[in-house]
């Protein structure tokens, strides 16, 4: 397949693996060389073996449609995405810095809001945010940490710089797919692993357990449960996977009850038993019908009392979604400076906050070029992508912004980086993003790499699996590579 790889070019986009036509980046040289040396037949075999493996491993996600719920096989591309080790080390530092500041911010907000009093962030931005929960005021969760599990979305622009696009602090998903992707690659391309050192990702489940256990430092062996919305949830596969891998009890709201003593109990074959830590995969809104949405059948009445009493730890802490707000996002670099006295080492995407008159003026003048996002939506809902939109849609957003400027931000349309991907038309560049996962309890842990999502449709920027997106294994590879055939050379750990 050497010719095909030599023909490959990525136009004006930054390419994750290839520096120039026929010229791989130093960290991807051995991978590209290996793939080039395969016959097209063998490569095709690997692709179909990966597909068969995914079906056998039952790696699926659920798509909801009028015709009923369909379990689709997880779309996976076998060509890994590589990030150089030194770059990743810097990124990891930046992610840690960012989550530290975000947690200090949430802690501050619910305990007096000094940052607002000091005028760094306007008060209405914070207190009118949908994610702000009055019921959390005055609370300090263990270690002062609110966002225990964070999945930040990173994108690389054509300038080669990695930007933080958003911080998912509510119930970020995808980590099971990150782990399964590595398992598939090991099955399908085992030879590559002896050619180059690739940082392992398998520590995540035990790190998750340790982080959750650290939320009850008073207990030697806390009972830890993963709370799923149920067996028909689109992420149920991930919930079951994580519970199995990390040794958590997998349960639903109906398995739990809050006692008169305010402890949380689960219904076992021996009667009620206490649960000490809950990793919840349901949104704040549904967690406690006594406090939030009354119509929730997923939650546990009284669990907020239990949490406020310190009788159960909940990860992520209720109310932490306030920092997962598109307007507040714009202030994260200011937060980092305010709480840590440092400059943000991972840049934000430049953001215009429509509540500022001068920003608003710029946004309204340049709408067709910009991406406009509402403050408190996720999954790409309620967004305008100017260059891919119609004049009617642009006018609709002009009105929305003028009526409610506080609810909107705008960003330049980024040109996401591409990476070689196996398509029906051969090896071609497809746009990717990256979601690393950050665990914060007593300590902070960042996954080496994360989940690379890829827009499989030519030219598309949409990486969501429900809309033609797939994913790739993500490798962190050091620039210095030992020669594995030469026993005199020491292998760097």
């Amino acid at each position: 397949m050497r010719q095909e790889w030599n023909r490959y070019h990525s136009q004006t986009y930054y390419d994750e693996l290839i520096a120039a036509p026929g010229q791989p980046r130093p960290t991807s040289e051995r991978l590209v060389d290996f793939l080039s040396s395969q016959t097209p037949q063998h490569f095709k075999q690997c692709v179909s073996e990966a597909e068969a493996t995914i079906r056998q491993m039952g790696i699926t996600f659920t798509v909801y449609s009028d015709a009923g719920n369909i379990d689709r096989a997880w779309p996976f591309d076998i060509i890994p995405r590589i990030i150089p080790g030194a770059e990743w080390d810097r990124t990891e530092m930046g992610l840690k810095q960012r989550i530290r500041a975000l947690n200090m911010f949430i802690q501050d907000l619910y305990n007096g809001g000094q940052i607002v009093k000091d005028g760094v962030i306007p008060s209405d931005v914070v207190y009118q945010s949908k994610g702000y929960r009055k019921a959390c005021e005055g609370m300090t969760p263990p270690h002062g940490v609110w966002a225990n599990i964070c999945g930040s979305d990173l994108v690389r622009h054509s300038d080669g710089v990695m930007y933080v696009l958003e911080d998912n602090l509510r119930v970020p998903s995808g980590v099971a797919y990150m782990l399964e992707n590595r398992t598939i690659t090991k099955r399908v391309l085992p030879e590559i692993f002896k050619l180059m050192p690739i940082r392992p990702v398998s520590a995540y489940p035990s790190q998750l357990y340790e982080m959750l256990a650290s939320l009850r430092p008073d207990l030697d062996h806390p009972t830890i449960a993963l709370l799923t919305p149920g067996i028909y949830n689109s992420a149920y596969f991930e919930h079951a996977f994580l519970a199995r891998q990390a040794g958590l009890v997998l349960l639903e709201g109906s398995d739990l009850t809050v006692g008169k003593d305010n402890y949380v109990y689960m219904k076992t074959i021996k009667g009620l038993e206490r649960v000490d830590v809950i990793y919840r995969r349901i949104d704040d809104d549904f967690i406690d019908p006594e406090v939030f949405r009354k119509d929730s059948i997923l939650g546990i009445p009284g669990i907020m009392r239990s949490w406020r009493d310190g009788k159960v730890a909940i990860a992520n802490a209720p109310g932490c979604g306030v920092a997962d707000d598109k307007v507040i996002y714009a202030y994260v670099p200011d937060m980092i400076k305010y709480y840590l006295g440092e400059e943000a080492s991972l840049p934000n995407v430049p953001t215009w906050v429509c509540r500022r008159p001068e920003d608003r003026e710029y946004v309204l003048d340049h709408l067709p070029e910009l991406v406009v996002k509402p403050a408190n939506e996720s999954g790409g809902y309620g967004m305008l992508v100017g260059p891919h939109s119609t004049p009617e849609k642009v006018e609709e957003f002009r009105k929305l912004i003028q009526e409610n400027p506080n609810n909107y931000i705008a960003q330049p349309t980024l040109s996401l980086s591409v990476t070689p991907t196996a398509t029906d038309e051969g090896i071609q560049g497809r746009h990717v993003d990256l979601r690393p996962f950050i665990l914060s309890g007593k300590d902070i842990y960042v996954t080496p790499g994360g989940l690379t999502r890829v827009a499989l449709v030519k030219g598309s920027l949409v990486v969501n699996s429900s809309q033609g997106g797939g994913s790739k294994d993500t490798w962190i590879v050091n620039e210095f590579m030992p020669n594995f055939d030469d026993p005199t050379q020491e292998i760097e750990a």
Binding site: M57, E252, D255, T257, K267, L272
Partner: protein, 322 residues
């Protein structure tokens, strides 16, 4: 140690029941198909006998006009509307594994997916006898793979106990259904043709319950109907006999919390079985015995659910954290 959730107990219990049912159904269809190849047409035993064994005459008549091999196989193998079809059992196995993945070995899930993929490929071919028989053998193999993974990788904890109970209840239930067929074989007014094929038929019956070899080793090389029935109902060391299953159920229940009521029920069924004199039972009594065993097992199912799956929880049951 983490105590088992009631909901998980229920799921693994049903997983084991459906797994047993799927394997037994595949075996029954496989053996019956090969039996009919040996038998002349127009006998008391034909394709429709299978529908009777599943007590599914009503459902079948409602959806199909003709009792042809093609229709009956479609109904028993592929029809998802038929709650006792092989496809339904396999789907229930997979769904119950999917929803209790965190307490089961990983291989079990992969095996379940393999059967699922196989089923999607093979179901359109139920009328092709050759492919169908092949499919039945593959289903049996996969079911045994799952059982093997469970047996060799699982600690003997309550999860395992519930699976064993589920497996043995289903096994005893299926056996009593299949044994209903013996009332045909023992009937005084049975046809001459049937009398001529008796040896084959009893052999076939034992085979459907994977009991032929052990019968020959432990009872007698010569097949005898009454002895075969006694073996299948009362043998104490053959794991496919009803008596063995009942003993196994009690043994497993002893490891579970508050097992008194369900155990008393199983004991009652054992007593009923012990008091029946199989060697001199008239043909019309076989049917009644099997019916009563089946309805007793239905009651047992209810007791199990009430004790462990849907108990009434109260704060006084609260256990201190150890």
């Amino acid at each position: 140690m983490i105590t088992m959730l009631s909901q998980v107990a229920e799921r693994v219990y049903w997983m084991a029941r459906y797994l047993e049912r799927a394997e037994k159904t595949a075996r029954l269809i496989h053996v019956h198909t090969s039996l009919l190849m040996d038998l002349p047409d127009r006998m008391e035993i034909d394709w429709y006998t299978l529908v009777r064994l599943f007590n599914a005459e009503h459902d079948f008549r409602e959806h199909y006009n003709e009792a042809s091999e093609r229709n009956i196989m479609q109904f028993l193998v592929a029809d998802r509307n038929n709650s006792s079809s092989l496809a339904t059992s396999l789907a229930m196995v997979r769904e119950n594994i999917r929803t209790s993945l965190n307490v089961l070995p990983e291989e079990v899930w992969e095996q379940a997916n393999r059967i699922h993929l196989l089923m999607n490929e093979s179901l359109p071919n139920t009328s092709d006898r050759h492919l169908r028989q092949q499919f039945m053998r593959q289903v049996m193999e996969h079911c045994q793979c799952i059982r093997g993974a469970l047996d060799s990788h699982m600690s003997r904890d309550n999860t395992f106990d519930f699976m064993q109970i589920g497996k043995h209840i289903e096994r005893a239930d299926m056996s009593t259904r299949i044994l209903e067929m013996t009332s045909l074989l023992l009937a005084d007014d049975r046809s001459d043709i049937l009398r001529r094929y008796e040896g084959i038929l009893w052999g076939n019956l034992l085979q459907a319950l994977s009991a032929r070899q052990m019968y020959m080793q432990h009872v007698h090389a010569r097949l005898n109907g009454v002895k075969a029935m006694n073996f299948l109902l009362k043998d104490t060391i053959f794991p496919g006999s009803v008596g063995y299953s009942l003993a196994a159920i009690i043994r497993r229940m002893c490891y579970l919390p508050q097992p008194e009521f369900p155990i008393a029920k199983v004991q009652k069924i054992r007593d009923r079985l012990a008091s029946a004199d199989i060697t001199s039972i008239p043909a019309d009594q076989v049917h009644l015995l099997m019916d009563s065993l089946q309805s007793e097992m239905g009651d047992l199912q209810e007791k199990i659910a009430k004790t462990w799956f849907y108990p009434t929880f109260s704060q006084t049951q609260t256990q201190a954290q150890s």
